[in-house]
Subunit: 768 residues, 2 copies
């Protein structure tokens, strides 16, 4: 484990406080600049023509009418764009991506795939021109179900890869002796679980603006989580050195993992700008965020586990099939992470798990908060609940008994260091009065006899960092300005989560200045140190550690300088809130500005601290305790109350952490009860690509949430022990709801979303 | 002397070659972005109302009509801007500036000073609104001549400073025993010399755009040589931390020193933007570049020197008076540098020099290429010519005999290290066949009997860096990208001279990559390391050294990494043109990209090298040999041919160095013969503030220039010995022309510009 520092017992000035985010004012007033706010002189608007077939060869494209349309400046098709096979997913250095995409191909693999792009002087003209492009297709047989797709004779989508519509070779994890384990079991549970296709539905649609300057340098304004990856792939595909591609990201309206790909329109935007020598903006409609964005992988999980009568798991046999849609994107990463995750959470010495990822003629699925783990832990946690039911035991106790602990092998293959799951479960049991709830009077309220109340508990763990799939690296540069204020340069994207605030807190705390003295510069690949991107719950953990290292170096330089001026030894002084003071004599101090300023022939100091951090992995843990009301007349499930108990090692900004947790719960409620992006099984057509038909929970739909954040298991790899909290909350909420529904109406569901129709149907079957 | 490296004898791959500048294409096509090309949504246009009186109190300003004018968004006067006394000149850390300006004052000190500012939806409306502002003045007595200004009873311009209209206490340098020196002299020469008010007349007028974002951060796009100084002064005057001021400079259309001030309109632009919450652009008209820009200090020099009959100087007594105009600006720096410079060039052990700088009610003079030295060396070199004439000796030989040399005390007070002046003079004498020219037949060409031909030699030396006046510091950051290309981050401004090209060459050479692999990021104070600004001929010397240090560190990291991969010791390998190879086996190599990329569990390296360099000073030298034709009928002097011989220690980019020299000569010809910004001595009104009446030499007026660049005296402080060349060429050309005129017509002129009227008058007087 690469440690930034041993876990200190210390009093914090800034860390752990909910300081006011620097971007609050501009966000409230609407002045915050998002990519869509960028307006460049002479800017054109780009639009894509999308296929209305799921699988076909393009026989011909006639763009002559579109090109002749007044106001149209350029049209691109597969015939006039570079034909380079590229990674849609942005980490060419890792195994978690697949090189299977062209900018535009002479073949369509899903309904909604782009086949041409237009740049015009207005969005309206560009839209009108799309209709003038005539495409003649030669239809190909299509396949929409992963089980069908892997059968012999199924239509094959790609020449690359292992074949048979597999995105990658099956991921297999074997440990112990599964057969021997089952032989020891007192009983065996087996079930098939399945997850739908929820979509991140971020507020800000995908958008980019491309402009080439007079020295043939490409500048791209874009909403992305991975600006350096975008830079790398654009450079590779367009044949440019990295010095000639600049990627700029300012504020972002969410990403949730899905904005880690290089999208078709982003290449086309750059090429349209090159063709026209004018800036070109391309912004997705809401419809396009569905058809051309990235949803969560639909997944089928077959899970068989052997249990002892005391609730211990003795064998786990599991098969997962993830539906990648028409291209690989993050399929390899998601499959690897989700499959490996299933080895853990609940301890088991004998595991045999296989994960597959399969191409189908459906829209591309990709990275999304929870990254394959939502699917596997949904199965694992529900089956644990079933085991408790079978044994007549308290599911919370059974989960506690089986909870992963210190020294167990983590999904990463390493021994767990910070194990906070037991503490989370125990803490939740106490906080909510779980035992009493279990023993409560279950007679329905006579005034609302159709309402059944239920309580469930769901658990999860999730890694901060993508290790071992990706060798990560966090970088930060800290400059001390002449007036003692500090500039942090970071490549970490700000998805809206307050990441930059947390980083500024870390820098201020470590360097000894006030929070408001730290300015954060980000989102410009030309100037910030290289960054891997904002994903895998790792920004605070990874970049936070790098920022702490960088600030520590700057602090050393400031103290050296101050010691000289105060005429004391470095060991005798300390810095806090912008002052450097003599520890034994706190009234004797100079400001940081004075410390670094010139005096008596010594020029002003140029203080720059660089920090690089290469972590392995830490794990965060959570248990969600959830109350639901199930309406047996309408089938509607209302989540009433959630007590999420999270171990994050060290909380940097409590309100921001709480916000992450609440947001994850909101998304998780949607995924479990209402959200599913539906693809017609006959045509591959999107049936609800829009926020009218795709039902997300709104603020009015939110339950009471009483967040409990624990610093139970600080990780020596994170800043002062901090671990991630980005992905965790979306994982535990799902099974906690499913388990609560069972508690309410005695019916087990093995899928999500659990719709009112499902509830009513199940109740009818149960009654019958 | 702070040495970056001992002077190496080595073969250069990139340094010393005239590589193609990266900005050539965009400049030729007109696509290069200057500040004026920045267009922001909702941008307003600012204009300033300027006083038409030279000295007055403002009794009242009525802006009501202007404010009511449709399209006007804000009007600022001294009544509603912060009243903070500030440095107009941008280096508060040094002695070379004076805190004597307000953004807007209730008093006017020169004709053309700003008294109000308007922001409107168009430049035209803003201009019209200016006329609606009614200002009532209470006139004050004004003074336009420095000699008058220091007399008792003269109108006093400022309360600050030493009083009596002195900008600073007189600068005095005394060495040896001047009286004893004169007592030893065989003869004494005494003369009064004077210089006019040439203006830099840069192509790109002063311009800035200010915008405040939603977090109250001020961004300023500006044409400035000193972006960090602008940031510092704006922050101080507007009461902002440095993290809330961002200064951006892209391409610049010249500066020549004059764009080192914070100008009235720059503060007002920021304040108008704050008031209106919209971006505001303010661009000078050509007229304003004269009245509100910065010209060279008019100067009177009294010079008395004692000589031995062998031509040796035994005593130098000198008084200089620089006219600062209405504010101090760079007056202190110019006076200090110009006065100290006069101690050297031609050696003398007994010197007594006094420099004064005086306020007058005229437009502000400031920094301008040659920075006070043009004035003092004009006198020094011409009087040396006179001494040779008196002795009947060759002036080149007398100058050679007296040329400063190794170990002499430099103007900085330190011993000279690299002394190239003798070599320059000797080289020029040989190259031009000077001896023969001296002995030529002087009979006029019978076909053009009114033309008299003359040859003159002028000498100069000039420091790279502003040491000891300012403790300088150069900084550079070098990042190696994943593809092996390299990004240099530098705060050095690019005035158009190719500074970034030279820096990229230095980085490429030191790091071992190709020139085209280096991208330069500059001009954004948020992201580049702190920089003192581009002035004092120091960019290649100072920032070049820092860049070399930074690149050297990056190189070390690359080699370490490569050694690991090539399985050899670091000492066994070298890097060149993007490859790291085994020295003994050059066929065995890997690319820089491969060297730093990930492999076998080792993540990709994040290679960042930082370089900081704090120099003392180096000196460059030159001798200009100049041929003129004097038309005795029209009085017109035509410069026919110049052989400038420059010692720059080490030339980085020969064509760029040559361009500097040619440009300096062009400017110097203008200053010596045609350029003078004339202020009416009765009213203080500008008489020729525009390029129609202010006559600069154009390309058609240029002589043949045969530049000779020597690497005679490399300086251990510069990269591979390089020294500056920015200011030098403007200094020697002036006296070489004056001396050539004397050679042609036998008349001595002690002033510049030497106009046709002066020539004709002098010929008449000579004949009489």
């Amino acid at each position: 484990m690469n440690m930034t520092t041993p876990i200190e017992k210390r009093e914090f000035k800034i860390v752990g406080k909910s300081v006011k985010r620097d971007d609050v004012l501009e966000k409230v007033t609407g002045e915050a600049q998002y990519t869509g706010d960028v307006k460049l002189p002479g800017m054109l608007y780009g639009k894509m023509k999308r296929a209305a077939v799921a699988h076909a060869r393009i026989k011909s494209i006639d763009v002559s009418k579109a090109l002749a349309y007044p106001g149209v400046k350029a049209v691109l098709t597969h015939e006039n764009v570079p034909r380079v096979l590229h990674y849609g997913s942005p980490h060419p250095r890792s195994a978690s991506c697949t090189k299977d995409q062209y900018i535009l191909d002479d073949r369509v693999r899903f309904w909604g795939e782009g086949v041409a792009a237009v740049a015009a002087i207005s969005e309206e003209i560009a839209d009108e021109a799309l209709d003038l492009i005539e495409v003649e297709y030669e239809p190909l047989p299509a396949v929409f179900d992963p089980d069908e797709a892997v059968k012999p004779g199924a239509p094959i989508l790609h020449e690359v890869g292992p074949g048979g519509n597999l995105v990658l070779d099956p991921v297999r994890v074997n440990r112990g002796d599964v057969e021997a384990g089952f032989a020891e079991a007192d009983f065996v549970l087996e079930g098939v679980f399945s997850g739908g296709r929820p979509h991140p539905a971020y507020m800000e649609p995908n958008i980019c603006i491309a402009d080439w300057d007079g020295s043939n340098k490409l500048t791209v304004w874009i909403s992305t989580q991975t600006s350096f990856m975008v830079r790398g792939i654009l450079a590779e595909v367009l044949g440019l050195p990295l010095t000639k591609v600049r990627v700029l990201v300012d504020h972002m309206g969410g990403g949730f993992g899905a904005k880690q790909d290089c999208f078709q329109h982003e290449f086309l935007c750059a090429l349209l700008a090159k063709e026209t020598r004018r800036p070109v903006k391309m912004e997705f409609t809401r419809h396009e965020t569905f058809v051309a964005g990235r949803a969560r992988h639909p997944c089928k999980v077959w899970l068989k586990q052997g249990f002892r009568n005391d609730g211990t798991i003795v064998a786990r046999d599991m098969k997962l099939v993830y539906d990648s849609g028409a291209y690989g994107s993050h399929g390899p990463g998601v499959t690897t992470v989700g499959t490996n995750a299933a080895t853990s959470l609940y301890r088991c010495e004998n595991v045999r798990i296989e994960g597959r990822c399969v191409y189908t003629n459906t829209p591309i699925t990709g990275a999304f908060r929870g990254y394959g783990v939502v699917q596997s832990y949904y199965a694992l946690d529900i089956q644990m609940d079933e085991a408790a039911e079978r044994l007549g035991l308290d599911p919370a106790e059974v989960k506690l008994k089986n909870a992963v602990r210190q020294g167990d092998i983590a999904p990463s293959g390493h021994a767990i260091v910070g194990h906070g799951l037991e503490t989370c479960i125990k803490h939740g049991i106490d906080a909510i009065g779980w035992k009493k709830l279990r023993e409560r009077d279950r007679t329905p309220d006579p005034k609302r006899p159709h309402i059944r109340k239920g309580w469930g508990v769901g658990c999860e763990m999730h890694g901060s960092s993508a290790y071992p799939g990706i060798k990560e690296q966090g970088n930060a540069t800290v400059k001390v300005n002449e007036d003692g204020t500090v500039t942090l340069l970071t490549g970490a994207a700000g998805l809206g989560t307050g990441a930059h605030t947390a980083l500024a807190q870390i820098v201020a705390e470590e360097l000894g200045v006030r929070f408001e003295d730290v300015g954060v510069i980000h989102g410009d690949t030309d100037v910030v140190p290289w960054d891997i991107g904002a994903f895998a719950s790792h920004t605070t953990y990874l970049v936070g550690s790098a920022a702490k290292i960088a600030a520590g170096k700057a602090r050393e330089a400031v103290l050296e300088r101050a010691a000289m001026k105060l005429q004391v030894q470095v060991g005798e002084i300390d810095a806090s809130e912008g002052r450097v003071f003599v520890i034994a004599e706190p009234g004797r101090f100079i400001s940081v500005a004075e410390a670094i300023g010139p005096s008596k022939g010594i020029p002003a100091a140029n203080i720059v601290g660089n920090g690089t951090y290469e972590p392995t992995k830490s794990y965060s843990f959570a248990a969600h305790f959830t109350e639901v009301d199930v309406d047996t007349e309408t089938g509607i499930v209302e989540v009433k109350r959630v007590i999420p108990v999270h171990d994050v090692g060290r909380v940097i900004h409590p309100i921001a952490a709480q916000g992450q947790i609440e947001g994850g719960i909101q998304q998780g409620i949607g995924h479990t009860l209402t959200e599913d992006y539906v693809i017609d099984k006959k045509t591959g057509r999107s049936l609800n690509a829009g926020l009218v038909d795709y039902k997300m929970p709104l603020s009015m739909d939110m339950p009471d949430i009483e967040t409990i954040i624990l610093e139970a298991a600080p990780d020596p790899g994170g800043p002062w022990g901090a671990k991630g909290v980005g992905e965790d909350p979306i994982i535990a909420i799902g099974p906690s709801i499913a388990n609560a529904i069972h508690d309410a109406i005695g019916v087990r569901f093995h899928h999500y979303p659990i719709t009112p129709e499902d509830i009513l149907k199940a109740l009818r079957e149960k009654d019958a």
